[in-house]
């Protein structure tokens, strides 16, 4: 119950951070990505603020035996670079620049009731579903490691 409450509160604080920083507005995201136009560096400051805080938290976590409410910290992830990672990030970036939304701000902005956000989130769910289908086909064709679309854990 405590875990669910902290997840809920964390999600709420995350959304407030996105809203206050302007990241729920496509113009702020597109303005940051428009390096050759009227560049708006705001997004860089959002990243810096979040990264500095999380850097400290991550350092603290290395000194703790376990999280306060759970048994263990996430296992350090893989470190190899592969085509999947780069291709996936490239495709995500194209969509991000096209609509000015990434997943967090889109789910937060659903609450505004704006129809384009609902369209975006539904399409995002469809994209996740499509990836699942492709991953299944790829895994079937070549069950060994190194397939482009097979799912793997990260972060």
């Amino acid at each position: 119950m405590k875990a669910l409450l902290t997840s809920f509160v964390s999600g709420t604080v995350f959304a407030l951070g996105l809203g206050i920083s302007g990241m729920t507005r496509p113009i702020k995201v597109i303005g940051f990505l428009d390096f050759f136009g009227n560049w708006d560096p705001s997004l860089a400051l959002v990243m810096i603020g979040a990264i500095v805080v999380y850097f400290v938290a991550y350092r603290c976590s290395r000194k703790m035996v376990s999280p306060v409410l759970a048994a263990e910290f996430p296992v350090p992830a893989r470190s190899d670079l592969d085509l999947r990672l780069i291709l996936g990030a490239a495709i995500f970036g194209a969509g991000w620049g096209l609509g000015g939304f990434c997943p967090g701000p889109a789910i937060t902005a659903l609450a505004s009731g704006a129809a384009p956000v609902a369209v975006f989130v539904l399409a995002m769910a469809a994209g996740i579903y499509l990836h699942g289908r492709f991953a299944m086909i790829e895994t079937f064709k070549s069950p060994s490691r190194g397939t482009i679309l097979a799912p793997a854990s990260d972060a």
């Binding site: 995350f14 206050i20 708006d40 603020g49 938290a57 937060t108 469809a126 990836h131 972060a155």
Partner: protein, 143 residues
């Protein structure tokens, strides 16, 4: 430069960092939103409830913003529905293929100097910038 909001953006960024830090230090979870969203769409035993609670929190935060800071939802740009649909499709597919988005790779991964996350973040900023360049400076923002 226009519309630069350094103070609000820094404060918002710190709140995002605090939220992700609480998830890590209290629950040992990575606040990667694309993964959390996908996890709720394809539920796995025992690892779904916290994700649903987090997403409910995100949406509730959105409701608070709607009441107290409605300007947070001012798009500032116009795009046809089809463009938002295409954008969502690319974001959903791409974040699954690349295992993360702005939160998982951009904040949580970059903070611990993960090579994969740094490469992913540089890549999505580059293709995002390329896309915006094409729209704003080749097509003349006429979508």
């Amino acid at each position: 430069m226009h519309d630069f909001t350094p103070v609000a953006s820094l404060i918002g960024g710190i709140l995002i960092g605090l939220s992700a830090s609480a998830m890590l230090l209290l629950q040992g979870k990575i606040a990667g939103i694309s993964g959390i969203f996908a996890g709720v769409l394809r539920p796995a035993m025992g690892d779904t409830l916290w994700k649903a609670a987090f997403l409910t929190g995100l949406f509730s935060g959105g409701l608070l913003l709607r009441t107290f800071l409605p300007g947070a939802f001012d798009f500032g740009v116009a795009r046809p529905f089809g463009v938002f649909a295409m954008a969502g499709l690319l974001v959903g597919f791409g974040t699954r293929l690349g295992n993360g988005c702005t939160s998982g790779h951009g904040v949580c991964g970059v903070s611990r100097f993960s090579a994969r996350s740094i490469v992913a973040t540089a890549t999505f900023i580059a293709t995002g910038a390329l896309t915006v360049f094409i729209i704003n400076h080749v097509l003349g923002a006429s979508l």
